[in-house]
Amino acid sequence: MLAAFFSLILRDMRLGYAQGGAAGLVIAFYAITISLFPFGVGPDAEILARIAGGVLWIAALLAALLSLDRMFQADFEDGSLDSLTLGPLPLSLVALAKALAHWLSMLLPLVILSPLFGLMLHLDGASMRVVLIALLVGTPALSLIGAAAAALAVAVRRGGALIALLVLPLYIPTLIFGVGAVEAVSGLGSVSANMSFLGSLSLIFAVLGPLAAGGALRLALE
């Protein structure tokens, strides 16, 4: 069962970087979105540093969104999903494996690259460290919530817009505490309290997301 779980994670990560995979697209989207802000709000270092935390987080949310619609749809269309149900994993664990693969292949590279973009936005060293850790702790929730929405929209043509509507409201708590952690560096509140909330959101959705996704996939198969 563990072997099946890990082989599925590995396959999906490889698919992300194979021909037609979305990982490169997501990283490029993240870079371009962030580099729009200096053009939009002007090159004033003080203003950019103030909004940097929010910019990095919102760009990460949108980049995550961009890659969600194919999480299950590709497997649904090419028949893989049928055979995935015949393995040892219940559908909720299939969903968990695919959400983890999504995080590892799409969002973890963004997290690792974020100090680079922080530099571009004149973010200072202490804040940068907090942003990096906050993204690391908080972004798994994005993949896990996204898995539930992607499973609900699996049989919908052009389900991307539907997924955005389902997912973005649920991303708000993660955004609030993620940005809160960065603001706390300059004195507004506690960094560790915000981090704890981020972590608990990721853990809660590690349970709820795959369960909801498993149910939705079961319905889609019937």
């Binding site: 099946a4 082989s7 090419d78 049928d82 055979s83 015949l86 393995g87 198969l221």
Partner: protein, 235 residues
Amino acid sequence: MMFHPTKHPTSSPKARTTLNAQALACRRGQRFLFAGLDFSLEHGRILILRGPNGSGKTSLLRLLAGLSRPEAGQLFWCGMAVPPSGAGLSEQVHYVGHSSGMKAAFSVTDNLRFWARYLGGAEDRLEASLEALDLEALAHLPVGALSAGQQRRVSLARLLVAPRPLWLLDEPTVALDSDNQHRLTGLIQTHVQNGGMAVIATHTPLGVDGANLDLRDFQPEAQHMAHDPLLAFED
């Protein structure tokens, strides 16, 4: 929740696997595709599903694979009732449907290796499976570059990388040339000689001995005429 009745026939050839269905019914929207469907299948036997398009052959196969639930009725595996919730028969069956279940960007070998690992098969069967379907020359090509018939052979190779007692094949001959149809017939015969079972929906004669099950015999009489709102308006 998991349902583990017996070992695979390949690991213990004498295993007496049987599949029985009692009063199965399947509904699509307002319409019953079939109802009161009974059959029994012993190890080493083949059941061939017949019936026109839309008579419920695919629905029955998906129902047996546990991909959908019956509207009514009960399945028995080796005499034990298959619980309607939970994994059902899923770890005893292979289902080969219309779509290949292979990733276009991956090579034939990579695809089959994944399914061997995921479905609990052995990777050392990979070579033999490729050989059995004459895929050795194509093994390193991405599945997306193959023709429809070649892709069909790749999805049939999945039957061999992870041995399972019950094969559910939905139109397995589609896109296969006559040589490969013979190859498929041979695979099915070897499978049942080793104590396996197969339920096959097909329109073309496969050249295998099997009991016929015509789904038209289980169609509820003209009930869909009364319930179908579109037809009702035509009068």
